[in-house]
């Protein structure tokens, strides 16, 4: 049964990928990209990687679709045909692809118990993480504690991407202060039903984000997903009630502060661990009992990740929509 589901999902995935290559309308391409992420999220669920599936669904289907639509607003809605025949590129892709496929011949078969990945560190994670780290959700303990460096790197990457985007598109606050400009009519002002349903939903979305943030130790979830969900709540608010209202609720200045505060919190916890006599990001030193220290450390760094992701995502959305308004 699971094989059938895998085959169906992979077939859909291939069809979607080919359609994305061929389609010239960017809007359709963005929607297909969303479908592609949703299909891969389903595949992750069939592989029991629920955390990854959650992230893929929230980031790939949710927020990146919105951000890509915002980016599309800056350009044409159609992809231009390249003026040349991309034959050399096709050749390069074919050769690289066949080399990669040839390389996979040496990999162990999927699910082999004596594959290197199952012998190296995985047994330790599975056997020791409830004693050493504590959280019932093993993914959280691997992500936040054993692999804390990697997560710090990922957070820094998101932060850098956000800073780079704001630097490229320009922080529009100087050109047009949002408080001074006359209140523009909200984009969907005449949609009464949308406004009412939005009012009902936005608190629930924010609450769900907080649940995902603080329940990450026990179930699928964590800072990345929570930040994205919180950001999509704010984005929904600004879509329904207008950008200026949203900017009064969550100002760009506060976002810049929050975004850097999250990374600082993450790095600060690491430095605090050094100051207390351990290694960088060695949470055992944070409390009297090592497990309590781990719990506190994971809580703090997940909070940092969530704050940064939320701030950067909303900041990107603001940058795109402000830019679109200034040029139009």
């Amino acid at each position: 049964m699971e094989t059938t589901i895998d085959i169906v999902l992979l077939t859909f995935l291939c069809i979607t990928a080919i359609a994305i290559i061929y389609i010239r309308k960017l809007f359709c391409g963005i929607m297909l990209l969303g479908i592609f992420s949703l299909l891969s999220a389903c595949l992750f669920v069939t592989m029991d990687a629920v955390d990854v599936a959650f992230t893929e669904a929230a980031v790939g289907t949710g927020i990146s679709t919105i951000l890509l639509l915002g980016a599309m607003g800056q350009t044409n809605a159609h992809e231009k045909r390249p003026p040349y025949q991309p034959l050399i590129a096709l050749l390069v892709v074919l050769v690289t692809g066949s080399v990669l496929v040839y390389g996979t011949m040496d990999l162990p078969v999927f699910g082999t118990p004596d594959a290197p990945i199952h012998l190296h560190v995985a047994p330790r994670y599975i056997q020791q993480s409830p004693i050493e780290v504590g959280p019932p959700n093993m993914v959280t303990s691997v992500l936040a504690s054993y692999r804390g460096f990697d997560t710090l790197g990922e957070t820094a990457v998101i932060f850098t991407a956000g800073i780079a985007l704001v630097a490229l598109l320009g922080s529009s606050q100087k050109k047009r202060p949002p408080c001074a400009s006359p209140p523009q009519p909200a984009t969907l002002h005449d949609h009464l039903i949308l406004r009412i349903v939005g009012k009902m939903f936005i608190p629930l979305i924010l609450l769900f984000a907080l649940y995902v943030q603080f329940h990450g130790d026990y179930g699928p979830g964590g800072g990345f997903q929570a930040g994205v969900i919180f950001a999509s709540g704010i984005i929904l608010y600004s879509l329904i009630f207008g950008l200026n209202t949203a900017m009064r609720v969550v100002s760009p200045k506060a976002l810049r502060l929050l975004g850097s505060l999250g990374v600082l919190l993450f790095g600060g916890v690491g430095l605090l661990c050094i100051a207390l006599g351990g290694n960088f990001l060695d949470y055992n030193t944070l409390a009297a009992r090592p497990v309590d220290g781990q719990h506190l450390g994971i809580f703090l760094i997940e909070l940092g990740v969530g704050t940064t992701v939320f701030a950067i995502m909303v900041m990107m959305f603001y940058a795109f929509s402000l830019r679109g308004r200034n040029t139009s």
């Binding site: 969907l188 009902m200 939903f201």
Partner: protein, 104 residues
Amino acid sequence: MTILDITTALCLTAGCFLGITGGFGIYRLPDFYTRLHASSVTDSACAFLILFGLMLQSGFTLATVKLCFIFFFLVLSSTTATHALAKTARSRGLEPLLGREDKR
């Protein structure tokens, strides 16, 4: 095979049938509004029937509560999305297709 199982099977079959007809409808129907009708059938009735079938199987557990949450979320969100699409299309001046050209 209890009555519960039979009801579940009926609900799931009806839900899947509605899902497939919705897919066909999006592909075959002539204009935006009729296609929207087809997709809204998939969003609402199909999803509700499948959720109800699953609820019957899970009994009085936490899973049922979660399914109920999904149900209420879908009741509000998918119908609102359909409404917003239709209203936006109407206000942008997209006229519905009224009968076939050759028969008018």
